[in-house]
Structure formats: C-alpha cells, structure tokens
Symmetry: C2
Subunit: 349 residues, 2 copies
C-alpha cells in the first residue's frame, strides 16, 4: 500500500479520529442529544411538506427561507448567518478558510474534541490551556499565548462540553477585547443556558457564534448548525462551502422546528427540571459541577468500576479514562425513568 501511504498529508498520518460512541447501551445518555424525540404533531406536519418537495432537485444553496426565519428570530441580518451540515461542518469551513500550516489555535481544555481534531486536519498547531481549578476559563494565559503565537482562532464552548458550565462572561469578554484572534464561541447548548454573546457581534468583528439544531431542537439526525458572525466572515465561508451542503429536507425540518418552537419548550423545561433534581441527588455522594446545559459532569473514585457498572446496566455515558477530564463521567439528562436508572447505577459505586 506504499502507493497510497506515501501520499497522505503529513498532518493526517498520525491523527487520531473522533470516536463518537464508547459503547452501546439501551439507555443512550452519551451524546447530549435531547432525550425527547420531536413531537409526532410536528413530525407529521414536516412529512406532509416533504411529500410535496421535488426531491429530484438540488437544495437551495443559500438556504434562504431558513435564514429568513432565523434572521427574524435572532434579530440579526440575513447576511450574518451561515447554515452548515451540522456546526462541525462550519468549524471545518472556518479552519479551511483561515488556517495555514502551523498557524496556532488555542483551546481551553477539557472541551469538545472536534476543535482540536479539525484544527489538526488543517495542519494547525493546537495549544491547550487547562481550565482553572474551579473549571473556569484561564483568560490571562489564553491572552498571553494568543499574543505570543499570533493565534488565528480561540475556541470557547459556552456552556463548555464536557464540564457543562458557562465560563465567566467577563473573562471571555476580556479575551475577545485583548486578542487579535478570531474568537469562536460555540453556543450549542444555548437553549438550556439562555446565555449568549450575540449582542456583542456588532462591537467585536472577531467574534463568531455557533449554534445547532442537534441539541435542544431534537433534530440531531438532520445535521443542521448555523453560524452568526460579521458578514465578511460569512462571505468567505460562502466562497468555499460545498454548493449544496445543507440538504432540502434538513432545511424543512429546521424551519418547522423554529416555527413550532412552543411545542419544544415543554421538553426543554422538563430536561432542565430533571437536571436540577439529578444534580441535587448526585452531589450528596460525588463531586458534580453545576450545569448550564443538558448534561452533568461528575467525578468518580474508580473509573474502571464505573465503566463496568454502566455497561452492566446497559447505560451509555461518556467516560473519561485519560486526558484533562480523567476520572470524570459526562451524563446526558434523560427522561425521568432513565435518570432513575442512572442514580441506581451511581449508587453502586
């Protein structure tokens, strides 16, 4: 296979890929999806629309009607919105547009692994800055290293994944103000935190916000994410994006969940209330972080034993054997019964 091996891009040769699933259980609490499927009412509405879509035609490359609805809802101009096949595709396009070989990307850790993987695929150097002891962002070190290295990107998940908390707003603003880098704030769990940097977009041209339909909006299957940023950045991404990256059916699903949002609010409320209950119970026995998202991050004394118990009980959760989150577990908030099963399993630890 020399003929192939010799040709692989250098930065990819030793890359470790993203492994989305650890093990498969009956109770899927490992991917921070909304535990509730889309209400049948909305689903039927959507399927009726799909029946009348000529699927032999390519999608609207500009996803205009989806952008129109988003623009109205978010009170930002349409030319500040970019639609992706999941927000990870948008991260890919950002990397592709800006990162030259050996450019520096700064990432607080632990965080969502795709920032690092996508940066490395694009031959960038990744500098990881550990969170402070109280799981906040280390603004001073990030600013320092961004200056020294002339970093192109700083990724900030807000709330952070896997820790689940929102970092201090002031520290993030401090980073945005005191760096020349493009600061990419990933608000994938915004609908659970209700905290956003959207109002700072006007003031800071180096700010990029990412959102997704894969979490609160219950349509992870459809792969729709979006970016809100100044129009210069949107223009660049439009230039390099695959012409038909957002498929027609996903565009319909995204539009309809936005237009029928009120039916989703109940599920979001239920998840938040279940989270609070679970948090109170878990904290009696474990170190667990206060969460602004739809998942909890807790430390266990014996991670191997925890893995065994979860596997035995057919529960899929995210288990960190190594790295900055070593000995922690990330549990997606499930339905009532799933959360009870989680507690039972934790009680065996």
């Amino acid at each position: 296979m020399k003929i192939i091996e010799n040709k692989i891009k250098f930065c990819i040769k030793n890359l470790k890929s993203y492994e989305p699933v650890l093990f498969k259980g009956k109770y899927k609490l490992d991917a921070n999806e909304n535990s509730y499927d889309l209400p049948k009412l909305i689903k039927r509405k959507i399927l009726k629309k799909i029946l009348n879509i000529p699927v032999n035609r390519y999608p609207d490359p500009e996803a205009r009607s989806l952008k129109k609805i988003l623009s109205k809802k978010l009170k930002v101009k349409k030319d500040m919105i970019f639609i992706g096949n999941g927000s990870d595709e948008i991260i890919f396009y950002l990397a592709q547009s800006f990162l030259e070989k050996d450019d520096v990307v700064i990432i607080p850790v632990p965080t969502f692994e795709m920032y690092k993987i996508i940066s490395k695929i694009n031959a960038a150097q990744v500098i990881e800055i550990p969170l402070t002891k109280d799981f906040d962002i280390d603004d001073k070190n990030i600013i320092k290293y961004a200056k020294i290295t002339k970093a192109k990107f700083i990724f900030i998940a807000y709330p952070n994944n896997p820790t689940g908390n929102c970092f201090s707003k002031d520290k993030i603003l401090n980073i945005i103000k005191n760096t020349d880098a493009i600061v990419i704030i990933d608000e994938a769990y915004f609908e659970f935190s209700e905290k956003t940097f959207i109002k700072y977009l006007k003031k800071f041209k180096n700010l990029v916000i990412l959102r997704t339909f894969s979490k609160a909006y219950s349509i992870a299957a459809l792969r729709v994410g979006y970016m809100i940023a100044n129009k210069e950045i949107v223009k660049i991404l439009n230039k390099i994006k695959l012409p038909y990256n957002a498929n027609s059916i996903s565009q319909v699903f995204a539009k309809e969940v936005l237009l029928n949002e009120k039916y989703l609010k109940d599920n979001i409320k239920k998840i938040i209330s279940e989270k609070e209950k679970l948090y109170e119970k878990i904290r009696k026995k474990f170190f667990v972080l206060k969460s602004d998202s739809n998942f909890l991050f807790l430390k266990v004394a014996d991670i191997k034993k925890a893995k065994k118990i979860f596997q035995k009980n057919k529960i899929s959760v995210r288990i960190f054997n190594s790295g900055y989150a070593k000995d922690f577990i990330r549990i997606t908030i499930g339905k009532k019964e799933e959360n009870r099963i989680i507690l039972n399993a934790l009680n065996k630890l």
Copy 2:
C-alpha cells in the same frame, strides 16, 4: 475589516467560487438532475419509515445499513465504500487527506468545475490538460505532466461533464497504469452510460470511483454520494470525516431508492430515449456531441443571442461564455414537453 482580511488563507483570497445557477427559469434544465421526481409510491414508503425514526438521535456515523445494500449490489466489500454528503464532500475529503500546499492535481478540461475549486481551496496547483479535438482525453499529455510534476490526483469524469461523452476506456487505463497518481473517476452519470471502471479496483490500488444519488436516482435534494476504492483510502477518509456527515433521513432515502430501483428504471429509460430523439433533431442544425449521460453539449454560433432566447423562454440551461467550453450550451434532458420547448428555442437561433 483588516482584522479578518489579514487572516484569510492565501490560496482562498482570490478564489472564484462555484456558482451553481446561471439564471432561474420555469424549465430547469441546467443542473443535470433527473427531470422526474421520485415516484409518489416510493416517497410514501420512505416517509412512513421516517415517521418512526427518532430524529433526536445522531445518525449512524458509519451508515452501515446503506453500505450493506450497496456492497451487495455492487459486489464490493463494505470496507471499500465511503458515504458522503454528496460526492463533492468526498472530493473535499480526498483533497483534505492527500493534498499538501503546491501539490499538483491534473484535470482534463472542460470538466466539472468542482475538481479545480476544491483542489485550489486545498492550496494545490491545478494543471489543466485540454481534451483532444474529438473531445477525448489526452492520455499522453496527462501521463507526461503527471510524471514531471509528481501529480497527486488526476480527475476524470466518466461520462465527462459538460461534454456528456465517455472518454476512451483504453486511454483511461493507460493513464491509470502509467502514473503514480491517484486517479479519481467520477461516475456520477453511470446509470445513464452503464460504463464503469469498478472491475479494475482490484488490480489498481490508485483507482478511486465516485458515484452519486443526485442524478439517475432522483434524490439530489438529499445529498448522498459514495466512493468505492481500496480500503486503505477508505480508512484515511474515515479518519478525517465529520463524524455524522451523512444524515439519517438521507440514509433512509438512499436505501429505499436502491431497494425500489425497478420503479426508477422506467424514468431512466424515458430520459435515454428522449435524449436520442433530441440528439437526432439538434444535430441537423448544430454541432452536438453524442452523449452517454442525461444531457447534451452543443455549439451555437451566437452565444449571447442563445442566452437571450433561453431567458425569454424561461429555460434554464448551462451557457458557457468563456473558458474551454466557450460558445457551447449544456442542456439537461427534460420531460417530453420540456424537450419540445428546448427545440423551439433552438430553432430561433
């Protein structure tokens, strides 16, 4: 906007993007889609399945059940198949996996523009080798330049787009045998040509074949393409692909059109028969190429006048004002009535 402009990747700054649509008419014959929508029968079957899919869950990242069906149909192993969000996404991944800055990509021209655009986004140098006078591939020059430049990729559309013909099989084999480059054969229109290089995959490890569901299979809206190649290449692409690139609903559509292929065959036959008729009529007045695809490529004396007439008649076709296909028009074969309208328009030229 200096803060942003200064950061754009050098190879992207002056890039011209792909403009999928020239102008919008009532008769859409510009994108080589299947002019027939998916039969309602199949659509209803699919929508019934979708109703029972938990759309709150992420897609199967490996698209296993789709690969299983494809594997059986194509008689290739599952680990030789890769699914993409359109075959253009697969081209992107190939470029991303293999192309270092200034690596050379060889492209016969005129051909599908995305090969060049995606190569350039990945900082590669593109060498364009014009077709011979009879619109065949210039194997000798391609082999020569591939050797001199140590080209990484050679793209070959088979049938070629926009010319519509299949290049000589022997010339293509000559290229595959006599070069060290990865030869990417794009068989997007295979279901119309019924000519394929699939049987050569075993012998030539540097061969990659691309296919799509966007043409004959009538689901351009869903964005599903696939690659068949030796498993080493598939492994590399699996390493760098976005984990959930192929969404769940598109996977269902692709599976169902494969399982209900017999209902699609009629439309394909109709298109081929309409094409032959249209060809015979057009050739009386114009230079038009014999086509192995679902479109025709013809030369007009006055391209500006042609553009005006098509616009006036609300017909969207692909018009080439410049470049290697200058003064040519590419017309997708439509339904019977659309083809009559096309002929009327051409008769005014």
